[in-house]
């Protein structure tokens, strides 16, 4: 088992690599949902223990963030750090989209260009060297 893992992570074209990229990309959806929930939770935040432990959006946000971290660790088991880490930036894409639809945040042209850059970059990283 350990030898397969080692050879798979050494080979950037392996099927495992594609699975790890997908897992990491899926994990960013959780991270984005977590950030949105935390933002909602912070709207009715007060430094009082009872209101913090009953602040469901905030707690759900932290829980999802924990789940994101767990998935990231699983993806890092076989995936390269230099490949998995940049994929986290996909969460900016989801957060921007969700903020637009939920909070009606404005979308500046620069932001849209940045989103396009992140999506193009992650797509290239995900495809890797196709022969």
């Amino acid at each position: 088992m350990s030898t397969t893992t080692a050879s798979e992570s050494a080979n950037p074209n392996s099927a495992a690599r594609g699975r790890m990229v997908l897992m990491m990309a899926g994990a960013t959806l959780l991270s984005a949902a977590a950030q949105i929930l935390m933002k909602i939770g912070m709207h009715h935040f007060s430094p009082n223990l009872l209101t913090i432990v009953t602040n469901l959006p905030l707690i759900a946000g932290y829980a999802l963030y924990g789940l994101f971290t767990l998935l990231m660790v699983l993806a890092l088991r076989e995936g390269e750090l230099s490949l998995m880490y940049p994929i986290i930036s996909l969460s900016y894409v989801w957060v921007t989209a969700l903020s637009y639809f939920i909070f009606h945040d404005t979308l500046s042209p620069l932001k849209l260009l940045g989103i396009a850059g992140i999506m193009a970059g992650v797509t290239l990283l995900g495809r890797g060297e196709r022969k």
Binding site: L74, L81, S82, P86, K111, G114, G117, I118, A120
Partner: protein, 107 residues
């Protein structure tokens, strides 16, 4: 500024320890290994330092520093884990970094 730069370095080492811990995972119990704990701790620590650093205004340095944090992480991936950087990968990384900077500029 210096504090936020420091936070980016701390955060990048969080990623290094998560990777170190992840490759040693064998089962559910091994989730409790010190490398993963240190990785999570460094991440939490860096977010506290980030928050302290941008408390005095300078929110504009946040995204550039997040991008700098990516560069640290890539550097450690090369140095410590000897990961390969093909041309396609470098172009992808460049696009992601430029994208993060633009999202920051447009916010």
């Amino acid at each position: 500024m210096l504090l936020v730069l420091f936070a980016s370095v701390v955060g990048s080492f969080g990623a290094v320890f998560l990777k170190l811990g992840a490759v040693r995972l064998t089962g559910i119990v091994s989730l409790l290994n010190w490398r993963l704990a240190l990785g999570v701790g460094l991440y939490l620590g860096s977010s506290v330092v980030y928050a302290l650093g941008i408390r005095h205004g300078q929110l504009s340095v946040l995204f550039p520093m997040v991008a700098v944090g990516y560069i640290w992480t890539l550097l450690w991936a090369r140095l410590f884990f000897h990961e390969r950087f093909t041309r396609t990968k470098l172009i992808g990384l460049g696009l992601v970094l430029a994208g993060v900077l633009l999202v920051g500029l447009g916010s």
